[in-house]
Symmetry: C2
């Protein structure tokens, strides 16, 4: 009766719990530094500890929770070092994905993506209050790189973390227009089949995002560990704005 939406896209409870707990952290229901115990979460979601264990295990796999052998799991703190590490990996993977896309995308896909980008820009800049569509340039581009492994890590692991960081730092809307411009430049490089240029552009683009997040993080130096994790918890999905950088 309370929160327990069964997501039909996940066949197993563990998978669904992974998303649910991720959403909980996104929405701020759990806050970084808080401790999440298996039994507590199990009671909260009305399931047994098995699926919860799997979900936490996977959360640990993506580096969102830290845990030593017998200690309880804690949501990773959001400090500069972690952001730096995260972005190092993102630059590596997305730069390569961009180069691959420049080689593997066909003309129709490029024009289609270009059109989608333009449409998203219009809608986004014209009506700022409309949720910026869930069009995500980066995810689309990654998908077009046709590298299952890179797609899985980027889309399944890194991006949820990035969204989390963005939630705590706050994205600045005035950067959107320049971000769109950079996206357009990248696509142009891809259209001219210049893989090196496309990668370089993408790397610079992401480096800018890193710098942005860093300054935003400096404003609120460290996320405080948050008092308790016993909040009734709203299991509703977070309504974060789509990616922008």
């Amino acid at each position: 009766m309370d929160g327990q939406e069964e997501d039909d896209s996940a066949r197993s409870l563990g998978e669904a719990l992974f998303r649910d707990i991720l959403a909980l952290i996104h929405s701020g229901g759990i806050a970084p530094g808080a401790t999440l115990g298996e039994a507590t979460l199990a009671r909260q979601f009305g399931v047994s500890r098995g699926p919860v264990r799997e979900a936490i295990r996977r959360l640990q796999g993506i580096g969102l929770v830290t845990r030593e052998p017998f200690a309880r799991a804690r949501v990773a703190l959001l400090d500069r070092a972690a952001v730096d590490d995260l972005f190092d990996m993102r630059v590596a993977l997305e730069g390569r994905a961009c180069a691959l896309a420049a080689t593997r995308m066909d003309e129709s896909a490029i024009t289609s993506l270009l059109a989608a980008l333009e449409q998203a820009r219009r809608r986004d800049l014209g009506d700022p209050d409309i949720p910026p569509d869930d069009f995500d340039f980066h995810l689309q581009l990654i998908e077009h790189a046709r590298s299952p492994r890179i797609s899985a890590v980027l889309g399944g692991d890194l991006y949820p973390l990035l969204r989390l960081y963005r939630r705590w730092s706050g994205a600045r809307p005035e950067r959107k227009s320049v971000a769109y411009q950079e996206h357009w430049q990248i696509l142009r490089a891809i259209r001219s089949r210049d893989a090196d240029l496309a990668r370089s552009l993408m790397e610079q683009h992401i480096e800018k995002a890193r710098a942005n997040l860093m300054t935003a993080l400096d404003a609120s130096p460290t996320i405080r560990p948050a008092p308790a994790a016993h909040s009734p918890a709203v299991p509703t999905a977070p309504i974060l704005p789509a990616d922008q950088a």
Copy 2:
């Protein structure tokens, strides 16, 4: 009494089982394409299904086993597409790691690594039958990049897979000398603090390894699915030669 070495480096059974099953696949005890059932493995190792489930889950996480919701897990087939994907990711991550190392390594670390490289080269080329020391240039370099996330993925996930592929394709010893030379060039670029050059060199180096593996894979086009996975299984650790490319 049969295979069940307790590795003290793993505090939980799940972790130990992860390594054990990995070793089993490495040693050829399970062979790609074979199906591994939880109950079977549980009986084989004398534990319950819980830890086995966690181990398989993690194996699935690194892409070594494929699995749809309710079907049994199968060891991933070793085809060209998988190798291509694997190396795309490796180029991305290790290229970046190399650039980071060029920035972050201090002089003493560089000279130390250089000396270790020279020592390994001598021992390896001089006494070909001696196991080439478990000195692994790539792993050392990755460690020096000081990026926990990249290190974890590369050292914990990708490299076990690479060793598996090399086991089935066979490494050619005549490539060792040229590999050493390339390693030396990379280190020289790092010493001169030329991050771009170091990355480029590393990328080319890995691309060569990819081409090598591809031709070796063409010789034996596809690994046959192997008849049964019920072999008594030798749980002894695999004695694979150290990395070389």
